[in-house]
């Protein structure tokens, strides 16, 4: 998902750990100052930061079309959507910071490649229809994952998710709205819509991560309630929800094996190419280099602004203190 293949740390044991598990099992929220196992803390930092980084890097593929949106209204909508994603990143960074890491540390770990972001944002946005496909499929897949995380055991993370989920449904709807317009448009527009679906279908399925049936990490994370559903469960749910939406658009999901199993009521579908997923995750996707360069450039170019504003704030505070002394 936005946090893919997060390794969970195996952890200390003892009476505190048992009491901790009892609290989780009872559905209690863990708050920043509460006792928590070191592994829980570490895993959460990794997961929440990866999620935050994804929100931030995720602005880049869509930002690509802000200046080229087909109408002023579409441009305003896309701008609002991308601004929301910046907000999501900020909510999540703050949640991660409550676990004892600093914002700058997290940023540096993204910029030098020590921390990852979702594989999906390493694909290019070639046409306007891609913006539709991203809202519909990528935000749609994100929602699948984020809705259950509103009930996650770590309080600040759960609260960030509640805020995020409130805003996501606008994202998915604006994407589907673009797809509807394109799918009902000229032949060239229809072809563009189909092409966007063709390119984004499998990368969207990859967002949920490889099957985690036998993964020890997933088992530990589920026990801690920082992962609620298995990757396969969420992927199935996504396919079941999305295929009829594609049919409504008159578009074809690029999968010859796709069929509704009348007995289970679920769609059967082809797995994405997992070797491609691992390539992208390891930095070899179509846009990995470009994305990281863009983030590094933004950070470096912004250094003087961050320093300047801090210097100004200190000067103002010093002046205020001096005039107070003078008045006394």
């Amino acid at each position: 998902m936005y946090a893919q293949m997060v390794k969970s740390e195996n952890t200390d044991n003892g009476p505190e750990l048992d009491a901790f598990q009892v609290r989780i099992d009872a559905g209690e929220k863990i708050e920043p100052k509460d006792w928590m196992p070191a592994g829980y803390r570490k895993t959460l930092i990794r997961q929440i930061s990866q999620h935050a980084h994804s929100e931030i890097v995720g602005q880049l593929p869509e930002g690509n079309w802000i200046t080229r949106a087909p109408t002023l209204e579409r441009k305003a909508i896309l701008l609002a959507k991308v601004q929301d994603e910046a907000g999501h990143g900020l909510y999540l960074y703050c949640a991660a910071e409550t676990l004892g890491v600093s914002r700058d540390e997290l940023t540096e770990m993204l910029l030098d490649g020590r921390m990852k972001y979702s594989s999906i944002f390493n694909y290019p946005t070639l046409t306007w229809a891609d913006i539709g496909a991203i809202g519909w499929l990528v935000d749609g897949a994100a929602i699948m994952n984020q809705v259950p995380l509103q009930r996650t055991s770590y309080g600040p993370y759960a609260r960030a998710m509640v805020r995020i989920c409130k805003e996501e449904s606008f994202h998915q709807r604006q994407g589907y709205d673009i797809m509807m317009k394109m799918a009902q448009g000229s032949d060239a527009q229809k072809r563009m819509a189909q092409d966007a679906l063709n390119r984004y279908w499998y990368p969207s399925l990859m967002m949920f991560g490889p099957s985690d049936k036998e993964s020890v990490h997933s088992a530990q994370s589920m026990k801690w309630r920082i992962k609620i559903n298995s990757n396969d469960e969420l992927r199935q749910k996504f396919v079941d929800q999305t295929v009829p939406q594609a049919e409504y658009l008159g578009l074809t999901v690029p999968d010859d094996n796709l069929r509704l199993n009348p007995e289970t009521g679920h769609y059967e579908f082809s797995e994405p190419d997992w070797s491609e997923f691992f390539e992208v995750l390891n930095g070899n996707g179509p846009c990995n280099k470009e994305r990281l360069e863009a983030r590094n450039k933004a950070w470096d170019d912004g250094q003087w602004v961050r320093d300047g504003m801090m210097a100004h704030a200190r000067k103002k505070a010093a002046r205020a203190a001096a005039s107070q002394v003078a008045a006394e």
Binding site: K33, G87, C94, E97, R103, R163, D300, R306, M310
Partner: protein, 101 residues
């Protein structure tokens, strides 16, 4: 990049943000953010936390200025209120004949 690692850290301080959702309600904690000073914290809070009419008033407090009770105090700190049930109106039986009270 390399001179950044040697220069002193200039991370903006963390601010806790409280927002009054509607007139007549009290301010509620909504989250936190980084800003160089209080004025900028309010501006940033407006962008980050009130993009959809969520508020009519914003308070910002520097996070390190907040003093919090410690979670391990939970038992002893709040126990006295558990044992004084007579503090609740339902403790007293008042006959129906008396009317609303």
């Amino acid at each position: 990049m390399s001179d950044q690692n040697t220069s002193p850290r200039t991370e903006w301080p963390l601010w806790e943000i409280f927002i009054r959702g509607q007139h007549g309600m009290s301010h509620r904690h909504v989250g936190s953010l980084h800003a160089p000073d209080a004025e900028m914290a309010i501006k940033n809070a407006r962008d980050v936390y009130t993009r959809r009419n969520e508020g009519v008033s914003i308070w910002v407090v520097e996070a390190e200025k907040i003093t919090a009770s410690s979670p391990s105090d939970k038992g002893p700190m709040y126990e006295p209120s558990q044992s004084k049930v007579y503090r609740h109106p339902t403790f007293f039986d008042i006959p129906d004949d008396v009317g609303a009270m």
